[in-house]
Symmetry: C3
Subunit: 366 residues, 3 copies
Amino acid sequence: MDVVSEGGTPWIRNAWYVACAADEIGASPLGRTICGEKMVFFRSSEGAVSALEDFCPHRGAPLSLGFVRDGALVCGYHGLATDCRGKVSDMPGQRVGGFPAIRSYPIIERYGFVWVWPGDADAADPAKLHHLEWAESPQWAYGGGYYHIACDYRLMVDNLMDLTHETYVHASSIGQKEIDEAPVKTRATPEEVVTSRFMDAIVAPPFWQMALRGAGLPDDGLVDRWQICRFTLPSHVMIEVGVALEGRGGYDAEDAAKASSIVVDFITPETETSHHYFWGMARRFAIADAALTDTIREGQGRIFGEDLEMLERQQANLSRYPDRKLLKLNIDAGGVRSRMMIERAIAAEQPGAEAQDIDTAEMVEL
Amino acid sequence: MDVVSEGGTPWIRNAWYVACAADEIGASPLGRTICGEKMVFFRSSEGAVSALEDFCPHRGAPLSLGFVRDGALVCGYHGLATDCRGKVSDMPGQRVGGFPAIRSYPIIERYGFVWVWPGDADAADPAKLHHLEWAESPQWAYGGGYYHIACDYRLMVDNLMDLTHETYVHASSIGQKEIDEAPVKTRATPEEVVTSRFMDAIVAPPFWQMALRGAGLPDDGLVDRWQICRFTLPSHVMIEVGVALEGRGGYDAEDAAKASSIVVDFITPETETSHHYFWGMARRFAIADAALTDTIREGQGRIFGEDLEMLERQQANLSRYPDRKLLKLNIDAGGVRSRMMIERAIAAEQPGAEAQDIDTAEMVEL
Amino acid sequence: MDVVSEGGTPWIRNAWYVACAADEIGASPLGRTICGEKMVFFRSSEGAVSALEDFCPHRGAPLSLGFVRDGALVCGYHGLATDCRGKVSDMPGQRVGGFPAIRSYPIIERYGFVWVWPGDADAADPAKLHHLEWAESPQWAYGGGYYHIACDYRLMVDNLMDLTHETYVHASSIGQKEIDEAPVKTRATPEEVVTSRFMDAIVAPPFWQMALRGAGLPDDGLVDRWQICRFTLPSHVMIEVGVALEGRGGYDAEDAAKASSIVVDFITPETETSHHYFWGMARRFAIADAALTDTIREGQGRIFGEDLEMLERQQANLSRYPDRKLLKLNIDAGGVRSRMMIERAIAAEQPGAEAQDIDTAEMVEL
C-alpha cells in the first residue's frame, strides 16, 4: 500500500490542503513546510493571504524572518520586497525589474482556515475546495487545535478510518468495548470512503456523558451511539459522531434527543515522515455555550495527544523495518480504501498517467 | 580488531545476554533493543517472562505500548493479543487462526536477571548459561545498577580488561599509581581470557578504605590488593577484586582478614554504537549490611559514570576517524584477546564457517 | 561561487586562523575542531601553547579530557603523556621510544589570540600572520567575545562585507535607512577586498549615540558616518567604523571630533556548515574607560546574536535547496570578490595548481 511513484512523493500535489488556521497569520509572516515545500504566508494590505516560497532569491534567507510593510513582504536580511504574487517590487539601491519572481502558491481563505495548493498553479481550481456546511452555518459551533506529528500523514488517515483503536488508546474517554463488538461497514465511491458503525443501547463513555450534560440531556441512561468516518481527497477525514437517548432514532433522532457533532481532521503532509494535524469538533447542540466549546477542545486535545505518541512510535517501528508487510483486516478497510484513492490520484498526476498501473495485487478482500 | 564479517554484526547472535534486571518487568511490558532487535518483555499469568519482537503484525505499533491481560500481551493500538510464544490468541471481531506468529526469543530468568538469546531459537541451550555462584549462594550479597552507554560494547570490554585506566579515570576513588607499576599477566583459554595484577603492601585507596571499614577491618594500614579480570563469551566481565591486611596471604587470605568481592559487568549490545551496561558488586563480607550495599552501589555508580563520559567521547573520536590504527600494548592484551575470542565466535556462526579465516595478521605480540 | 575542488574543503588550509582567545587555555587543555581537524590546545611548562591532534594514539580517547603535568599533556584514559610537539614522552610500564608521534600544528600566540595553521606544517610562516596595530598599540582599547555559529563561514564573510543588512537585522541599534541609500564602492587588490560607504550629515543611530557619549561628545547633533570593510585571507574582516561631528572631516576628522573604531571579525571554519566567530571592537576613544568597554561588548554581543539567527536559518535554507542560484548584486560585490580570493587560494593549494581553472563563468559584472 505504500507504493510511491518512482521519484515521486507519497502525497497528491494538485489539491487544497489546510496550511494554517486563519488567525495564525497576523501582522507577522508565518513560515511552514507543506508537502515538502517551504512556504511563507502573509497578509497583504487588503488583508488577503499570500503564500510564497520561503526563500529570498537574493541570498537565500527565509522570507518568514522578515516583515510586512505596505502590503509587501520585506526580507529581514537586506530588504528585498515582494508583492503578494512573488514579484519583487523594491530593494534599496536596486533596479528590480529584471529580478526573478518568487514562486507563489494558490491560496484560498475560507471556513476559518488558509488553504494552499502546493502543485501546479495553473491547475488550481477553487471549485475543488470542499463545501463545509458546519463552518458556515450559524447552526453549528466549532472549536479545535493543532498538533505537529512526526509520522507519515497516511498513518493518521489509517488511525481515523479505524476507530476500534478508541477502545485501547482512549480507554478512559471515548473508548468502550462495544466499538470492537459492533460490525463496521465500509463503502467507497469515486468521491469518498465511508466507514460506519452503530451501537445501540449502550452506556455512554465519559466524554459523551460530558457532551450529554452540555446538551442539557441526562447522562446516566442508555444511548444509541454512531460513528461515520468520511475520507475525501487529498487527506481530510470528517467523522460524524454522536449519541442519542435510547430508542429515539439514533443518528436520525430529533436534535432535542441527541448530542451530535462532527470530528474534523485536516491532515496536511509536511515531510515524508511528519504532518500537520488540524483537529476540531463541530457541534449542533448548545452552540452558544463557549465554556462547553473550551471543555470539548480540552478533552479532544488530550485524546488526540494519546494518538500522537502511538503514531510517532508506530512510525519509528515502520522506519526501522521498512519492508515488513502489515495485515489488512476488515477493520482496516477504511484506511486501505483511502490509501488506494490517494494512490490513484498520485498516479493520475504523473506524466503519461493513463499508461500507469496501480498495484493492487497485494490487496486482500475487505 | 574491528573486522566484522561482511553484512554481519559485530556481536555474537547465538548466546545468552542480559536483557534486564528481573524487577524491571512488573505489570507493564518493557521495550528494549538487544543486538539490534527490537524486543518486548512481559510476564504471562504464571509470572514467566516472554520476549517477542516489539512489532504488532497488524499495523506495526510497538507492543511495548500495550498491556498484559490474563497473561496475554495486548497491543495498545487495536487490541491484537498474543500469547507468551508469539501466537496471536485473540483480536476483537477477528478470526486469528491464520494470523502470522510474532517472533519470539528464548528466555531464561535466573540470578536476578532476564537472559535472552537473540539468534537462532533452535540453537538456544540453557546449559550454555554461565553458572554464577555469587548470585545463588547465601554467602554473598549483591547490589548493582544499569547505564545506557553510547559506544560499541567492545570499548567497554577493553575498558574492563585493562584496569590501568583506574589511575586516571578514577583517581579519587579506586585509582592509585601502583596499578600502573604492577606487572599485568594475561592468559587465554578456550573458555575465558584472564588478566591479573597483584599489588602488595600498598595504601588502600578511598573506596577500599570504605570497604575495609564495612568489613570491620582497620582502614589505615597497608594492604595487599588484587584484580583478576575474567572475560567470557559473549561479553561478560567478572572481576575479582579485593584487599587483605598486609602479609595475611593476599588473595588467599582467610575471610576475616580481607574485603573481597566480584565486580559484575554484563555488557549487552544495543546497536553498533551503543550498549546496555549492567554493573554491580557481589561481596563476601558484611553481607547482612544493607546500608553498606547502598553505599557501595552509590560509589560504584559514580565511578562507572566517569567511564561513561570517557567511552562515549572515545566512540565519537573513533567514528570521526574510522580507519585509524590503534596501539596494542601489553596492558591491552586482555581486551585484544577478548576481541579475538568474540571474532572467532562470530565467524563460527557464519554459514560455511569452517572455510573462514580469522584475520589476525595485524595482531602484535602481547 | 560555492565551487569546491573535488575531494577538497571549502577553506584554505595553509593559513593562520584564530583558534581561541589566549585566556581560554589555562591549567586545563581545550578541545576544538578547526577546519575539520580535531585539535587539543594546552600550555607547556614554559606557558607556550601547543596544538596537537585530539586523539590519543593508544585507544583513540580525546586528549582534551586529560590534564597537564610538568608541561606534558597526559591522556585521561591510560596515562600516555606527550610533549608539546606530539612526541610521546612517557606512559606507565611502557617503552615509548617507538610510539608514533601525534600530529602537531604550528601555533603562534599573539594579539591576545592563539593562531593555528591547520595545513602543511612545513609551509607555516610566522611572517604571514597579519600585523594588527590596534592589538599592540597603547592608543587602542579592545573588548570582544565568541560565538559558535552553525553555518558555512563564507556566509559570515558575505554578511560582513555587505552592511546593508544593518538596516534590517539591526534596525534598533546600528541600522538606518541612509546605509541603504548611500552608494557602496568595492575594490579588490591582490591582498584585500575593500568595500566602503560614507554617509554625511545624518542622525547617529542608538549604538553610535552611546559611543559619542562615551567619547565625551554630544550625541544629539548630525554626524558624518563611515564603514570601510576589509577582507583579508584566509577569512578575516576588519571594519573601520565611526562617526564624526558633522563637517569636521568625517573619517579624516581629528580624534577629538569623532568616535572611531574597528569591528574585528575572525571567522574560523569548524566544519563545512559551522564556524567559530571571534568578534570584538577596537577603539581609539576613551580607551581607559573599562565600563565603556563592557557596554560596547554587551551591545555588540546583542547585535551579533541577531546575525546568528539569520545566518543559521539561511544555512538551513541553502542546505535544503543546494542547487539554487543566488543573485549577485552591486551590494554583494564585497562578498563575491572575497569568495573569489578564497577560491583562488584554495585552487593554488592543490597539487598541479597552475593547471587549474577557476570557474568564474557565472560571475556577474559587479
